[in-house]
């Protein structure tokens, strides 16, 4: 168990290092630099001299007046102090602060969607496996659902439930007239806005989990131990319960992979619903070439995914006796 966790932690540390380096590296290697794009945006300068002064001021304030290696070290140092630079667009608001405002909306949207779809999808899938009628009718539907782009389901939901039936609002996380607070009215208003983006994330994932579980259960029911139990005349219910226990393990691993994919879903869904999370922020930052905000969003996404993966690994240790008791183990 110790070795398993040490290995995982090592991989996460390396991943973090690589991700931060990439995050720092790419904008500097690409043609054009952020300073020029800011300068280009500033209205006509009266003289060349003033452009130079502004440029050197910007170079200094973005820390680009030192050798490139030093910039890299400084980037790490600043990052650990929580300083991700200043947004060009929301100047002079620091990137960290902008992201901090957006983060709760993301978490309250994605975490419930991920966990609920996992629980319900697994139950559904296990229930439907090896039942002919279920397999013939429900399975194709699941496949179609899991083939939907999140954003399209979002569009579909906002068209049907939002615009045509007028049941739910289709934009924002709360009404314009309200200020975020802990009053009942605000919470109800918030939940009202939350339903559609939540559903678009939840439904697409539900299909994937159900299919995965169904396949795993079939696989387990074909295994020798199931056959053996069957010949021993044990009740079908008991055999299925054992199959479920074995089948749930790969699904937990799947959860770790899904976290990364969910990022795509959350990003695009937030854009459909103008939902003020990191996805929406990132979209705005890209469209307006707000380099520091793009970098900051990327970093937060990476940290979020790493933490989620790590949490899942620890949970895995507790639910899989083979890892818990392993001496060495393959740790994969």
């Amino acid at each position: 168990m110790g070795k398993y966790l040490r290995r995982k932690i090592l991989i996460y540390l390396i991943t973090f290092f690589v991700a931060v380096t990439l995050d720092w590296f790419i904008p500097r290697m690409m043609p054009g630099n952020p300073i020029d794009s800011i300068l280009a945006r500033v209205a006509k300068m009266p003289s060349q001299e003033q452009v130079q002064i502004l440029r050197s001021h910007l170079m200094k304030s973005f820390g680009m007046d030192v050798p490139i290696f030093e910039q890299y070290i400084n980037f790490w140092g600043a990052m650990f102090k929580g300083d991700l630079g200043v947004s060009i667009n929301y100047f002079p608001k620091p990137v960290t602060e902008i992201i901090k405002d957006a983060l709760p909306f993301d978490l309250l949207l994605t975490v419930p969607a991920l966990l609920l779809s996992w629980v319900i999808g697994n139950k559904f899938g296990a229930f439907a496996a090896r039942k002919k009628r279920m397999d013939n009718w429900v399975l194709p539907i699941w496949y179609i659902i899991s083939a939907m782009p999140y954003l399209w389901l979002g569009i579909l939901l906002s068209w049907t439930l939002g615009v045509n039936m007028d049941l739910f609002p289709v934009a924002g996380a709360y009404s314009f007239s309200r200020e975020p607070s802990f009053s009942w009215e605000f919470i109800i208003d918030y939940l009202h806005h939350w339903v559609l983006p939540f559903l678009s994330l939840f439904i697409v994932q539900l299909g994937g989990w159900a299919i995965g579980m169904r396949n795993m259960i079939i696989y387990e029911l074909e295994a020798d131990y199931s056959r053996y139990m069957e010949t021993m005349g044990m009740p079908q219910k008991l055999i299925r319960r054992y199959a479920y226990k074995n089948a749930i393990l790969p699904q937990v691993t799947g959860l770790a992979i899904q976290v990364g994919l969910l990022v795509t879903g959350a990003l695009t869904t937030e854009i459909v619903f103008s939902y003020p999370g990191i996805g929406y922020l990132l979209n705005q930052a890209i469209l307006r070439q707000d380099y520091f905000l793009v970098q900051g969003c990327f970093l937060f996404i990476i940290i979020g995914v790493l933490l989620a993966n790590f949490a899942i690994d620890i949970i895995y240790v507790f639910i899989d006796p083979r890892v818990r008791h392993s001496v060495g183990g393959d740790g994969a």
Binding site: A147, W152, V163, T264, I286, I302
Partner: protein, 282 residues
């Protein structure tokens, strides 16, 4: 030869495979011949704005009066290119890394799997965003390459474990004793035994690339020139098409993607049943 016939027999009898294949081919044909039968260029202003589907414009027009059907068929073409190229690259890289790591073992295995695990944890889309955001010009091909180069890790992992079990077989040991080179052993002894699996991986990567491209287009990192299905939906959402009731502009492109990717999933399950007798309907 007899074995092949058996597969074909089950392939034709497998409803999922046949239905998936028919849908896939339908859209493929539409993507190939579509641009020749449309009367308008995808970005030309072809009629009144916001027209609902009618004889002149069978999929209606956009807010600006562009023909949605023209955009749709050109967009389909872009999706298939991304699927073939992105899916192909992802499969190929995944195969090479997986084969090599699984076959060599030891140090190379450790290194390559480390790389794979790192790539797997970094969310592909985040990586795509940061790469694509700084490329001033993006075509469908560049997009495919970026998607392909980031989508391979899970394939590499799966191929590695398959290779691992295959290389312990006796015929592989025999080839090694006979002095075959690594490449030759991989190509002649191991790869043929994984062909069915590789083909299924390609199908999944194909669908995955299409979905990744749609997401990228939608975030605003689509092709800088031309049109794609994701770009259509981005424009539609940007101009509030749903609120204005112009549903055909955004619903139809997404429907096509859902059907294509769904068809690929059907084909994948169908093939699984064809190649794996345990899963066949009883």
């Amino acid at each position: 030869m007899k074995k092949k016939n058996e597969f074909l027999y089950f392939a034709f009898r497998n409803k999922k495979l046949v239905i998936g294949f028919v849908i896939f081919v339908f859209f493929l044909v539409l993507a190939i011949i579509g641009p020749f039968i449309t009367r308008y260029e995808p970005l030309d202003y072809a009629g009144m704005g916001s027209e609902s589907p009618n004889f002149e414009h069978i999929f209606g027009t956009t807010f600006f009066g562009q023909d949605v059907f023209s955009q749709f068929v050109y967009g389909l073409r872009a999706s298939f290119i991304v699927g073939f190229m992105g899916g192909g690259i992802a499969t190929l890289v995944g195969l090479l890394v997986g084969f090599f790591a699984g076959y060599k073992g030891g140090f190379w295995d450790e290194m390559l799997m480390m790389l794979t695990n790192v790539m797997m944890v970094i969310p592909t889309v985040a990586l795509l965003i940061i790469l694509a955001a700084y490329l001033p010009y993006r075509g469908v091909e560049i997009q495919s390459v970026i998607i392909g180069m980031t989508a391979w890790p899970w394939t590499a992992r799966a191929v590695r474990s398959q290779t691992f079990s295959l290389k312990q077989r006796e015929y592989v040991s025999l080839a090694r004793i006979s002095g075959f080179s690594t490449l030759k052993i991989i190509m002649q002894e191991i790869a043929p035994n994984m062909m069915s699996y590789v083909f299924m991986v390609f199908i999944l990567q194909f669908g995955g690339s299409i979905l990744a491209a749609v997401a990228l287009d939608f975030i605003g990192l689509g092709p800088t020139e031309g049109i794609s299905l994701g770009l259509m939906m981005q424009n539609a959402v940007h101009w509030n098409a749903i609120q204005l009731g112009i549903w055909w502009w955004s619903i139809l492109p997404g429907l096509a993607i859902t059907m294509i990717v769904g068809a690929l999933y059907f084909m994948n399950t169908g093939l699984d049943e064809v190649f794996n007798p345990k899963l066949r309907e009883m």
